[in-house]
């Protein structure tokens, strides 16, 4: 492998990883607090992308690329975030809240049900075809030597990085963040501390879903908008989040990037057929878990008896 090819793979892997990281961050938010796999997260992401697409196209009209498209994009993003936040909170109210005291798997099933409802409603309402989400900016690739990078790739990476930092600050430094951590550890005791657990959970869903919307829109620029867009990417992002360490924000980011790099380099370096790239990626992730059962960023805490 030439040096240029190496760096190209690196860049490809990083940006694919950036996409996983972007989704994983939202995933880990909800997952970290409620400890259940919100299967519908990918579908909220999809809903956010559709809303973003419609708003953006509506606002943009026929305007050429320029300041207006950027503003329109930004507005579309905000509206979509708001929409997704409300959607996420509503889903929580209706489908998960009644199951809070129940066994761990009941909300998982409910979430699977919600996922079916969302993705198929979208397919029914918006059709089964993919739609293009036009770039609001000039996405002409930049050449650095033989390595090519698009502005969008840089955007994805920087947004996920910024989101990670903001989230981390939020969870570590704010009262709401503290309340979230306490809620995730023990809801009953959190209430004893005066924490309004219902509100915390609603907030968590709102934030997680708004993040999903951001992810959905940014991904849509590259991957188009379609009803099942959240499923596979969402699942992989979730895997990444867990491998990073459940509920760990830096872990989610890192896990996402790692998965991207694995998918790229796993097959690029060893000359393994590209068809097996998932095998390599999942295989390495399993190995990582076996070596570090708490995830990459999880702390080893043996249970004290």
């Amino acid at each position: 492998m030439g040096i240029a090819e190496f760096f190209q793979h690196l860049m490809n892997g990083l940006t694919l990883g950036g996409i996983y990281a972007l989704i994983a961050l939202g995933y880990t938010m909800v997952y970290g607090i409620l400890k259940f796999i919100n299967f519908a997260h990918g579908d909220i992401l999809m809903a956010g992308a559709y809303v973003g697409l419609f708003v953006f196209d509506g606002l943009r009209g026929d305007a050429p690329l320029g300041t207006w498209t950027l503003i329109a994009f930004f507005l579309a993003m905000l509206i979509s975030m708001g929409f997704s936040a409300v959607l996420g909170m509503t889903i929580e109210r209706v489908a998960y809240k009644p199951l809070r005291g129940a066994n761990r798997l009941a909300p998982l099933l409910s979430a699977i049900g919600v996922s079916f409802i969302l993705s198929n409603s979208a397919a029914w309402a918006f059709g089964t075809h993919s739609r293009k989400f036009n770039y609001p900016f000039d996405n002409t690739p930049v050449h650095i030597g033989e390595v090519v990078i698009t502005p969008h790739q840089i955007l994805i990476l920087s947004v996920s990085l910024i989101m990670m930092i903001i989230l981390k600050l939020f969870v570590d430094k704010t009262r709401m963040g503290k309340a979230m951590r306490a809620t995730s550890l023990d809801q009953g005791t959190a209430m004893l501390m005066g924490i309004n657990v219902n509100r915390v959970i609603s907030m968590t869903f709102a934030i997680g879903s708004a993040l999903a919307a951001v992810g959905g829109i940014l991904i849509a620029l590259d991957f188009k908008v379609y009803a099942t867009m959240g499923t596979m990417t969402g699942l992989k992002a979730f895997v990444a989040a867990v491998v990073g360490g459940i509920g760990n924000i830096s872990g989610a980011m890192f896990g996402g990037i790692l998965l991207g790099l694995l998918e790229t380099f796993g097959v690029a370096i060893f000359g393994i057929p590209t068809g097996l790239k998932d095998t390599i990626a999942f295989g390495v992730l399993i190995l990582i878990l076996l070596i570090k059962p708490e995830g990459l960023f999880g702390k080893v805490e043996k249970e004290k008896v």
Partner: protein, 252 residues
């Protein structure tokens, strides 16, 4: 003297087990009141009910003149809207509980646990000050402040649960067997501390304790519970002399 906490004729059940049967009692502001009783008599259930953690079948609980818990449909007839405060709102009224089984946030450090105890306090300087006084009182906690609570010894966790409950600066503190798992010296310290916060900080104390002798000595009023009912109540000093109490709870 003002009644801070009034428990009026409450019943609580788990499925078909009646854990509390028409319990009435009160705690006056500024007092230390203790509740003693055998295993399974319903003491913990009573404390949990005060915190709104167990729904009432009947009766109501009033704190500082305001009803905080009421049986679901009681009062509906009188046209009152059935308002039941959730645990977090009850905590916000100034009641804090040292729960049975400690219920520490195992994955948080000692320091973070104390911070959580002060969740309702918005004054950072005050929080810091309270933390320091907790570390003074429980030096071992100070030494372990950056350690995950999970890895503390049982007694250390118990100390932390007490410290955490004090962090919010409550008006009423409910202690469910605070001496559980503590070394004799530490228990003695804790009872001293209880007296101290009661006198200095004017915190009202409601104490559930197996060590009946110490509890009765530390308190001014005492209640005895058997099978979900209050069977005796009197000044603690009188109870200490009570024949039945001596036999059943003081192990004499």
């Amino acid at each position: 003297m003002k009644e801070l906490l009034t428990i009026d004729d409450i019943s609580v059940s788990y499925g078909n087990i009646k854990a509390l049967k028409q319990v009435s009692m009160h705690v006056n502001e500024g007092d230390v009141v203790c509740l003693i009783g055998a295993n399974g008599s319903g003491k913990s259930t009573l404390l949990k009910s005060i915190m709104g953690q167990e729904p009432l079948d009947s009766g109501s609980i009033t704190f500082d003149g305001e009803e905080i818990c009421r049986a679901k449909n009681a009062g509906a007839k009188q046209g009152k809207r059935s308002k039941i405060l959730t645990t977090d709102l009850i905590a916000a009224k100034g009641i804090s509980l040292v729960p049975e089984g400690r219920r520490v946030f195992a994955d948080m450090t000692v320091e973070e646990n104390l911070d959580m105890g002060a969740f309702l306090v918005r004054d950072d300087a005050l929080i810091a000050e309270r933390k320091e006084s907790m570390y003074d009182f429980f030096p071992i906690l100070g030494a372990r402040r950056r350690q995950k609570t999970r890895s503390l010894s049982g007694g250390e966790q118990q100390m932390m649960a007490i410290a955490r409950a004090l962090m919010s600066g409550p008006r009423l503190i409910l202690l469910d067997e605070p001496g559980l798992g503590l070394a004799p010296l530490v228990i003695a310290d804790i009872f001293e501390k209880i007296a101290l916060i009661n006198q200095q900080d004017k915190v009202t104390v409601f104490l559930v304790e197996q060590n009946a002798r110490m509890a009765l000595r530390a308190s001014s009023e005492g209640y005895v519970m058997e099978n979900g009912r209050i069977v005796l109540s009197d000044a603690s000093s009188t109870l200490l002399e009570n024949e039945r109490v001596r036999e059943a709870y003081l192990g004499e």
